[in-house]
């Protein structure tokens, strides 16, 4: 099953415009009928409050929500040196920095964000899975389902 999901995801086209996850989740909550398990697979780099509002709406509708937080390992560690020009993924903002100078403060802020996101998810009753993409997403899914079956 995990392999099928992964294959479907791989075949999905890239988003064409900057969209809010929160509004998408609100729409989904209004359309889903009976109780479902909702898998959210994202980098969750849009507004976290907006995202968590959508998650809360799903949870309020008695759905089960599982967040797969997909992260590139370099995003976690900023493991690079030298002069780098970072360009916004979904915009045109640019930032010229020396990577090693920024590493410590970046990691500190980014870790805070991840920690905050995870804490809030758990508090609402959603499940939060961090997917370090140094391993394939399928592996993370397999681990998740394996753990579910073990709990059952």
């Amino acid at each position: 099953m995990a392999a099928r999901i992964a294959a479907v995801l791989d075949g999905m086209p890239a988003p064409k415009a900057k969209e809010s996850i929160g509004s998408a989740l609100n729409l989904l909550a209004s359309q889903l009928g009976r109780r479902r398990v909702v898998f959210l697979i994202s980098d969750f780099f849009s507004d976290p409050d907006d995202t968590l509002d959508g998650v809360k709406r799903l949870l309020d509708a008695k759905h089960e929500v599982v967040l797969f937080h997909v992260l590139d390992p370099i995003e976690l560690s900023l493991a690079m040196d030298g002069r780098v020009e970072f360009v916004e993924m979904e915009g045109e903002d640019r930032l010229k920095v020396t990577a090693q100078h920024l590493r410590a403060s970046y990691k500190e802020i980014f870790d805070d964000y991840l920690s905050d996101l995870r804490t809030r998810c758990l508090r609402f009753g959603a499940e939060y899975i961090r997917c370090d993409m140094s391993r394939s997403f399928g592996t993370h899914l397999a681990e998740f389902f394996s753990a579910r079956q073990g709990e059952a």
């Binding site: 780099f45 970072f86 360009v87 980014f110 964000y113």
Partner: protein, 664 residues
């Protein structure tokens, strides 16, 4: 005034750094699309805020590092003034004292070069030997070249008084306001405090002077030869003779068993050994074989010591030259022997002579010029003869007068002040038991010299006058008139005195009397002062005259005709040795040349002697191995260190701040 020793170096540095700068400017950035851009922006904003201090500190550190590098290559200096230095090197003979592998002068030359490099100001280099000679001047920051090749020892001695005079008279020296004098400060020339004080005050009126001692060693050894002279008993060219060599210990310590050799034509002919206390002089007598027909080279050689310049004395020994002798005598009359028989016997023992014997009237009419020796026996000294003799003596003649000179008028006629004769009576032989006693003895050893040993005619009183016991009038007297010398004696040969006059001692007395008045010495040697006037029996002043030594370059001589001879002049050579005067390449005169012994006192003046002058602020010393202390410019090596330290400190502090922030 701040200056840069390498003002162009920062620009050179900048040019060298240009490729690196271009590389830095053109360095590419990696472009990354970043999903977590929001957090990157926040991190950037946060870091920019909190690391402002660190960045400023690091920037200052980098600037300090750059500044240190720029200062290091451009060498900023502070020039205290526009002083012009005159570096004067003492080249007097005492600078020839051995030192290390060379001598004091070589050491001084190196020290001057070191000072010149360290001064950082315009300077000139001059030598001093009583006169100042400018050798070279620096051109801007360029060191003068080749001046060291022109430095050579001078034969002239000179001290500080002469330096004060020279600085006053040398107009070119006026442009220098600071003098640095490099000398050995030998005790003989710099040990008189009052003279030094006056000279220092004179110099100090117009310029600042600093002294650099070249050689501070003490307890130096130096025994040297002061002179070589003929013995007082005379010199006889047809017999074995003796030469007197006077040596002295000039050093501050006794010297023992110093070997001394007389070398003739390269062979040692006599040797001696001497031990001398401090300052002691000793006269050694050396046997000299009968000279041959030709002039020979001779040298007295002393064992080498710290000052080799006075260890040898060079001279030529000239052979006998037949004398032209004029004898004026009375007619034999009733006398049982020739009146001048003892004179002829004595003359034959001294020289080969061409004796012309004339009678009374003929003598009065004969011109005395051209005769080496004139003798009269019983010839009354008339006014005409006295005039003739006086002229002859004034030109350097030698005269022996045997006559009844009991009348003071006769003495006076010959220029002998009879009044002073009686008042300056000498009795040199009193202690020996009577002046003429030996003459009564028979079969005396002719080689024993009695008379002159105890009563020399060359007495210090200038007029050697001999008196017999209980005789009021002088028996004989030697005196000088003009350039000549004369002996007058009232030992008038007379009938009945045959034994007396044939007595071999009387012949010997006559031999020595002749030797005493002939102004001729077989020793041909000159000193520096004699080089201004060298007479040669030549007539062509336009010929090329050269002075040459075996081991040195020849020098041209000045020539002026003076009557029937040529007077030559030359600069005094710095080296002792045998020198030859060449006329158009052919030798016409050969002589030994020797420096004086003024500079033989090579011990440096004792510091305690000069202490009062230092206390008065008149005398300033500089250490020879610390030339930078006299430099007109000051560098700041500590500034580089300070900037480097500052850069390292700031960098370290920035890292500390960073680490502390990271930890929190």
């Amino acid at each position: 005034m701040l200056e840069f020793l390498n003002p162009y170096m920062p620009w050179v540095l900048a040019l060298l750094a240009l490729p690196f700068l271009i590389l830095l400017i053109r360095r590419r950035r990696q472009v990354l699309r970043w999903a977590a851009f929001e957090w990157m922006k926040r991190a950037h904003a946060k870091r920019r805020k909190v690391s402002k201090v660190e960045q400023i500190l690091k920037l200052i550190a980098k600037l300090a590092l750059l500044l240190a590098l720029a200062l290091m290559v451009s060498r900023p200096v502070w020039r205290s003034s526009d002083a012009r230095y005159l570096l004067i090197v003492d080249v007097t003979p005492s600078m020839g004292t051995t030192l290390g592998g060379g001598n004091r002068l070589a050491q001084a030359s190196e020290t001057v070069a070191a000072f010149g490099s360290a001064l950082g100001a315009d300077f000139g280099v001059a030598t001093y030997d009583g006169e100042l000679t400018l050798l070279a001047e620096s051109a801007g920051s360029m060191m003068p070249t080749r001046w060291q090749e022109d430095i050579a020892l001078s034969p002239q001695s000179a001290g500080l008084t002469g330096l004060a005079d020279a600085l006053q008279t040398a107009e070119w020296a006026d442009s220098y306001d600071t003098v640095i004098f490099f000398s050995d400060f030998s005790d003989a020339l710099y040990g008189e405090v009052d003279s030094m004080r006056q000279s220092l005050r004179r110099i100090g009126e117009r310029r600042r002077i600093t002294f650099v001692p070249v050689d501070s060693r003490v307890q130096l050894m130096n025994a040297g030869i002061e002179s070589v002279t003929l013995p007082p008993e005379g010199y006889f060219t047809r017999a074995e003779n003796r030469l007197q060599v006077r040596i002295r210990n000039f050093g501050p310590t006794p010297v023992d068993h110093v070997p001394v050799s007389l070398i003739v034509d390269g062979d040692i002919v006599d040797q001696a050994e001497a031990s001398l206390a401090v300052g002691e002089a000793l006269t050694l007598r050396f046997r000299l074989p009968a000279p041959g027909e030709n002039a020979v080279e001779a040298m007295v050689s002393l064992a080498p010591d710290d000052f080799p310049l006075d260890d040898q004395f060079h001279f030529m020994l000239e052979p006998a030259r037949p004398l032209r002798v004029l004898v004026g005598r009375r007619a034999r009359g009733d006398a049982p022997f020739e009146l001048d028989v003892f004179f002829r016997a004595a003359l034959a023992s001294i020289e080969a002579g061409d004796v012309t014997s004339v009678g009374l009237s003929q003598f009065a009419a004969t011109s005395l010029r051209g005769y080496d020796l004139v003798a009269t026996f019983g010839v009354p000294v008339t006014e005409g003869i006295a005039q003739s003799l006086t002229t002859y003596l004034a030109e350097g003649g030698a005269y022996m007068g045997f006559a009844d000179l009991s009348s003071p008028d006769a003495w006076r006629a010959l220029g002998m002040p009879s009044g002073s004769v009686s008042s300056t009576a000498v009795h040199p032989d009193i202690e020996r038991g009577g002046l003429l006693d030996f003459m009564a003895q028979e079969n005396l050893d002719p080689s024993r010299i009695h008379f002159f040993r105890y009563a020399t005619f060359s007495d210090a009183a200038a007029t050697g006058v001999l008196y017999g016991r209980d005789v009021e009038q002088p028996l004989s007297a030697l005196f000088e008139q003009g350039e000549g010398r004369a002996i007058l004696s009232n030992w008038m040969p007379a009938p009945g005195y045959t034994d007396f006059f044939y007595n071999p001692n009387f012949v010997q007395w006559t031999m020595r009397a002749i030797s005493a008045i002939l102004k001729r010495s077989p020793i041909v040697a000159r000193g520096p002062a004699d080089m201004a006037r060298i007479v040669v029996q030549e007539r062509d002043a336009s010929a090329s005259y050269q002075l040459t030594a075996e081991d040195s370059a020849s020098q041209a001589m000045g020539a002026e005709r003076e009557g029937d001879q040529i007077v030559l002049s030359a600069s005094p050579p710095a080296q002792s040795g045998l020198y030859t005067v060449l006329k158009d390449g052919a030798g016409v005169l050969r002589f030994g040349y020797n420096l004086g012994t003024v500079d033989s006192y090579i011990e440096p003046v004792a510091p305690a002697i000069l202490k009062p002058l230092e206390d008065e602020g008149l005398l300033r010393w500089a250490e020879p191995d610390r030339p930078e202390r006299l430099s007109a410019v000051r560098e700041f090596p500590w500034l580089f260190a300070l900037l480097l330290l500052l850069a390292a400190g700031l960098e370290f502090y920035a890292h500390f701040l960073y680490a502390r922030r990271a930890a929190s």
